[in-house]
């Protein structure tokens, strides 16, 4: 494991993006309509787990469709990349609740998130944080985002039937 191969533009971009995402997260959890503590932790963990699961399944090992930062190996800045997924998990849960997503709006919500995910991946690729390999294209991520976010939406629906999502303060 290395700290980083060469601290350059991609690491700086990653640092700034993570800082911006966490700033938005901390502002949102100060709002009265914030999610309950357990839901908050779960949504952060959910976001991070999805990123780690995909990256260590198709982004590494035998398939190795892309590399994160400068190496195929684990760098400390990769941890920062995975931590970047966490607040997006919260944003997905928060706006799902805030926008009162239901049967009629579910498709639009998931579609917007999937397209945003592809766009964000394009930005990360352009910034040199993700390097695609072995004929993998950004478009290939669309069905992955679509599946992941549909399952997340379905999970939230089930969760809502069992728990109150908002803190209710």
């Amino acid at each position: 494991m290395k700290l980083w191969e060469d601290f350059g533009g991609n690491e700086l971009f990653l640092l700034l993006t993570a800082a911006a995402a966490y700033l938005v997260y901390f502002l949102l959890i100060r709002r009265p309509d914030k999610l309950a503590k357990q839901i908050r932790i779960l949504s952060l963990l959910w976001g991070m787990s999805i990123g780690i699961l995909y990256d260590f399944t198709i982004g590494g090992g035998r398939t190795d469709f892309y590399k994160i930062n400068d190496l195929n190996n684990y760098e400390v800045t990769d941890v920062l990349y995975y931590l970047l997924f966490a607040p997006f998990g919260y944003f997905f849960f928060y706006f799902y609740e805030k926008m009162k997503i239901g049967k009629k709006t579910f498709i639009i919500y998931v579609l917007v998130w999937a397209l945003s995910g592809v766009f964000f991946q394009w930005v990360l690729t352009a910034a040199g944080i993700i390097t695609l390999q072995k004929e993998y294209r950004i478009a290939h991520s669309f069905p992955i985002f679509l599946l992941t976010q549909t399952l997340t939406g379905v999970y939230i629906q089930v969760l809502k039937s069992k728990e109150q999502l908002s803190a209710g303060e």
Partner: protein
Amino acid sequence: MGFVLIVFLAWLMLMLFTSMNKNLTFIENTFVYLVALVININFTWIVYEELNMAKISQQILDNSAFLIHRSITLPLTVAITLNLFRTAPSFGSKIFKTILSVLFLVLAVVIALYFDIVDYRKWNIGYEIIYLFLLHLVVQSLLKYFGQLKTKGVNEA
């Protein structure tokens, strides 16, 4: 054959988890599964890919068997065990259930070793057992903290 057995174990855990009387809540079960998944993915990556203490087969079915065990069987086994913890009358009972859980996961590893799904170089079963015990301990501790968040949230409200 190794792939078949590993998939069978994953199916077995999935069925046991689905059909058992769960003592953890829905959100707690999700938390346990995700924490065990994240720790295990990172741990196996460091041991297998970074430290080269063991190797995973590059043969497609064997490699898939490893991924299935890493991402489904192991986290589900931990989740089942922690559900059983809630009905454990004593500390000894919890230890006994952890031992059974670790033994089951070691059995899966022995199958993976026998069928060359994984190949241990500087890693061994002893290290694996220590890791599995520590994994149960860490996930249980984090679950305790997670459970307290609900109580704190209620008190604050």
